[in-house]
Assembly symmetry: none
Homo-oligomer: 129 residues x 4
């Protein structure tokens, strides 16, 4: 598990710590990181990507507080065994409500009808899934 696992774009509008957390979230959800996997150390990641160690540390801490990672004292951070998927699909959908409402409003401002928007979104989501 080396530091090159992560991709960081320092010029992006998205904060670096959030880039890391989001990537971890995806890597875990996608199975590229499985429970128990050890993450590269803060120092390694910071050195490899030339970012502030505090930023990496902050990302790890945030991921830990979300239950994505767990701290193994003396060994580092590892992917947590506990998953968040215990929530019901309805609860998870509810988390998207603000984004969905914003999207609906924006489409209305653009005088777009529902059909093309839904079609495009469907495509982006891989509608077979």
């Amino acid at each position: 598990m080396d530091a090159s696992l992560l991709t960081i774009q320092p010029t992006s509008a998205e904060p670096i710590y959030r880039q890391i957390v989001e990537q971890l979230r995806r890597l875990i959800a996608g199975g590229q990181l499985v429970p128990g996997d050890l993450l590269p150390s803060v120092r390694d990641v910071a050195g490899f990507h030339a970012v502030n160690p505090m930023t990496v540390s902050r990302a790890y801490s945030l991921a830990e507080s979300e239950g994505l990672l767990e701290r193994l004292r003396g060994r580092g951070m590892a992917v947590a065994a506990i998953t968040r998927s215990a929530q019901t699909p309805g609860q998870r959908l509810a988390l998207l409500e603000p984004q969905l409402a914003a999207l609906a409003r924006q489409a209305r401002e653009l005088e777009l009808s529902a059909e093309p928007v839904l079609q495009r979104l469907s495509k982006l989501m891989g509608n077979g899934k």
Copy 2:
């Protein structure tokens, strides 16, 4: 052209001034605002939405510097004549692409299938439209 034209969410992560600029961009692209239309005055918008006039002014100035609006001295701000309104629906849909992509990504992270998300969005958009 009254101040209720704009929607402002003070609690959003997006800065107020940018919410305004983005909305103007969409309203113009969608043709709800056409070249020459006079916008509500800075003071009207500020009063109506209970925000600081300078915040609105900043939005208008930015929109002007982007070529969206033009100043009619002593009369206010108007939708610029040289504007890329009257876009095709496809071009307008493209303006939503980042939001759609983000939504798709988030749904994937939440392990949500396309169907319930599309259904909810469809309802929010008034799917008959």
Copy 3:
């Protein structure tokens, strides 16, 4: 003397009233307007160029206070008989000092040497004059 004598660009960054004053100054300096000439009425100018009569009036008043124009009661505004050219050339050059200093500073910021700047200015001034 009709209203078409003046050119007004409402979209210019230069205030309308100043556009008018500056044009009057030039027209008088250039001899196109000679002392005694009657100017078009405020109402004519305002109507012809679709600007606010108050703006034209303000310009005329300003020109009057500068000694460019004089008010002939019941007849309107006329080019003043008194000229300002009584000043010595040295005094007039002194009026340009701030602009000259600013230009020198800007040229320095651009790492431009004196020669090309002087050459260009000379050309613009019609160096034979």
Copy 4:
């Protein structure tokens, strides 16, 4: 890179924030600021020139939106990598054209011949340079 890099004239008709943006544009075009150079912090500039930090911030933001500067989060603002510095002297001279034209016009209005104006400017620029 200290705050004395910039010159601010609080009494000028040109807004302070624009004075800053224009100076940055020239300093970058002239090569005195090269891509990657870190600018003095908003607080330093504000303190040094006794202006409000927000005024400086506004200037930096504008310069960023123009592509002149880029934000290095947590470190400050730097001259953008994608920049049109290294211009030819001719291109740099062109940036002064509006000022030169205005000066020529004003000299003409003041009935000044080219010679004394050029002489004075030459002196101000240190004509040996």
